[in-house]
Symmetry: C2
Subunit: 303 residues, 2 copies
């Protein structure tokens, strides 16, 4: 007897799921020359769901001889190109940035001939957060890549985030289009007009099985009490699974407010590429890097 697959509601459940299912994928790590990257990779390596292929220096090669597969690279740019190539040729299903400047890795990712962003695809950043005061995972986009999304970019953001929620076994994810109020205001906030169109697309099934509603503010998206206090109704009902932020400033402030002031664990990936890209930033904890690897593995695994 198989039991129905329950939604994954936190990162422990995610790691358990990957282990139970005996999932094993490969991750190409570009220039793992700092302690933080290595710690995260070793954690993933031990857990077993992700086999690292380290593209790095001679020292890295010597250190991990017999433990992990390594490929020699001259410098961060060379390592980035070689790691991207491992994704292109199907050797690895996840890409991770090590001690490389983000723009150096992105140059390799975005290279028109040798990169891994197919023509017409949109690169965007998605975070999954487990906030201690929210009862399930909350996915959101985009705190880091697209400054002021166009309507086309918002469509891609909804598509990717709906897909991620499905892969976390949320059958009908509730996706909220965030704005500072619940009013459409064509004059000051033209994108709120676009929200109307996105809702219609969702109703027409463009993003698969999901509920898209907005404009909603953060509170009416994530609190039934706040929704009721404003005497509003929404099919999201204060139970959002995912948030689409109007711009990078709002997304970034959200990311940093919850990690700094609320107890929150996060995992993040770039979407749009042939394989999810884990792009940890200097301030991230080792745990957050590890969860990002688990998130990327899950996305690569589930159909």
């Amino acid at each position: 007897m198989t039991r129905p697959t329950k939604p994954i509601e936190d990162f422990n459940q995610l790691v358990e799921y990957l282990n139970e299912k005996k999932i094993q994928k490969n991750v190409a790590v570009a220039w793992p020359e700092d302690e933080h990257t290595r710690e995260a990779v070793e954690m993933a390596g031990k857990t077993g769901f992700l086999k690292p292929i380290l593209v790095g220096s001679k020292q890295t090669q010597e250190k991990y001889e017999g433990q992990f597969e390594t490929i020699l690279a001259d410098d961060p740019a060379d390592a980035s190109a070689k790691a991207v190539e491992l994704v292109r040729n199907g050797r690895t299903q996840v890409l991770m940035k090590g001690f490389v400047n983000t723009d150096v890795l992105l140059r390799a990712v975005l290279n028109k001939e040798t990169g891994i962003l197919p023509k017409g695809r949109i690169l965007t950043h998605v975070t999954a957060a487990k906030i201690s005061t929210y009862h399930k995972l909350l996915f959101f986009t985009d705190p880091a890549v697209i400054p002021y999304p166009t309507q086309e970019q918002r469509m891609a953001q909804i598509e990717y985030i709906a897909d991620m929620c499905h892969k976390f076994h949320i059958p009908q994810p509730k996706i909220s289009l965030i704005h500072c109020t619940e009013k459409v205001d064509e004059r000051h906030f033209p994108f709120t007009e676009g929200y109307m169109e996105l809702k219609q697309m969702a109703k027409d099934g463009k993003f698969g099985n999901c509920i898209v509603d907005g404009p909603l503010d953060l509170k009416t998206s994530c609190s039934a009490e706040a929704l009721n206090a404003k005497k509003l109704e929404s099919p999201i009902g204060g139970e959002a699974d995912a948030l689409i932020f109007p711009d990078i400033e709002a997304g970034n402030v959200f990311y940093k407010a919850i990690t700094l002031f609320a107890q929150t664990e996060t995992a993040a990936v770039l979407q749009g590429t042939l394989a999810p890209v884990v792009l940890p930033s200097r301030g991230d904890t080792v745990k957050s890097k590890f969860y990002s690897l688990a998130l990327a593995t899950m996305i690569s695994t589930e159909k």
Copy 2:
């Protein structure tokens, strides 16, 4: 012997200060016809630092006879006009919205002939927050009024918030200009260029004794650890007293993230007007309305 006045670091200290100094101001309350407004007004009335003058219905007049001064009004619009007049003629030093739509009260506030926004002044919204996981009050602007501030509006925001910090006895407030990164990026984020100019103005003493730095993200503004992890230096040193958000979406998300997900008490006022205006929103707690009244009283009191 007088001891030097210490900075006020939370709302209890604020209320204590107002009581110790036996401060008593008047507040005009426009249309106090709902339970929430009345509760907040009664709390303030009992504490003693704020004497309410209730501009409301016959029922309000009867209910509070002998307890508070009342002025009869026909409806919310009439109550708003009469309450604004009380500020204009100096009878009250604070204005509070009751059960009135915000735009109705604002119409009275902004009326060119009978309103209380002097020509050339800029209306903006400032919140003071005591986040349980931050060690002092954090002032920020603007989560509610100005969509995308112009440089002139940002100057006013810094001026008002520096002034508020001084009134809370913070001798040299640290004011952070928020952005998603620490890089000036004229192409994608032209306002970050403007930040450079604002910093220079601060150095030239335009905003009084204060430190203005940016662009800084939320974490490097409020965490010395995050600042160090990024190997950055800032005279704010991760100890911001005040945050200037790049747009209303970021400010609004911050406000709602800290109140929803972190344990946070807030107080808020409109600035730019002849007297601070307390504009509670439906979702606010009675406590938050009460603290807003205390904040407004403090601003009206201190020089």
